[in-house]
Symmetry: C2
Subunit: 204 residues, 2 copies
Amino acid sequence: MTKQKATNIVWHPGAVTRADREELNGHRGCTVWLTGLSGSGKSTIAVALEKELWGRGVRAYILDGDNIRHGLNKNLGFSPTDRTENIRRIGEVAKLFTDAGMVALTAFISPYRADRDQVRAIMRPGDFIEVFVDCPVETCEERDVKGLYKKARAGEIPEFTGVSAPYEPPLQPELVIRTRDQSVEASVAQILACLEQRGLIPRA
Amino acid sequence: MTKQKATNIVWHPGAVTRADREELNGHRGCTVWLTGLSGSGKSTIAVALEKELWGRGVRAYILDGDNIRHGLNKNLGFSPTDRTENIRRIGEVAKLFTDAGMVALTAFISPYRADRDQVRAIMRPGDFIEVFVDCPVETCEERDVKGLYKKARAGEIPEFTGVSAPYEPPLQPELVIRTRDQSVEASVAQILACLEQRGLIPRA
């Protein structure tokens, strides 16, 4: 009954596996987890990276505040428990996308090491690419694109990461990107090179 | 910087859109929501359907008890509140997969009309394909592949749908499949025809 339309597809009996999906896509599934302060450039990099990947025929999808906080996690607040549950759910969804053969791009501050390590722990080895978007808080605060630092300094946002709440940098991230000193394009190129080197996407 | 590798891709400025992803995939994103009693054939149909779709180069992904209950929803039980939250989260994840340009296949009993309608409500019109896997409870109980009906009749499983808890059939599903009287292949063919007719996947 199955009509073979896609090319380069080898038929296996039984259910469709992750390997089957990756074969169809021509690339691996994985999660690129961007972590860093507000204003460090996570979302900007994710958007530019998705564009580059799309241009190469790599299926990627961004998980960010826009599509998570108003949807899956709309019943979560900002208490410590809720922050942990927020990251846990995002990790589980990223895992599903990874298993589906897609490149999940997550752009959340995700300030706590334990929460990020917990996501790493549920993934298969090699599936979780932790990218530390490293930018001094002074630079983030100068940019202050969303005006959040100003509000935080005025005491209008309690427990704001980098101001009144801690950020715990990764100890052994797969990649560190220093966004104070380089362009968005250079940051994207760094991530693409990392994904190529790990055999997750074909070389350009 | 973008190298155009995929064919038939038209460049748009700005972020990658859902339409861009669908163009790359050669099919639309949508959610095929299978609902019906335990033993009605939801999972069997989902697995066979995914295989057919894969053979046609259509990217699909099954959300079911295996990858949801042990992951994203492992902190949920079977109380009414938790059942509703279970379906809500699955709906939100299916929405993300749909937005990512994939065909999400869900295989959950999802007995309550209000819960399913809530999922429909968060989706764009046309994205949610509710498939009622219709099979008399007597037939499901005769099959009893997992031995759950026997346990439910023995009182070992409280509030078992169809035995001691209600199943509310869809009032206006996009498709009804009567699995007592037809093969898995015929059921899959019915769903494929429905997706083709709606322009969600190319005609075979």
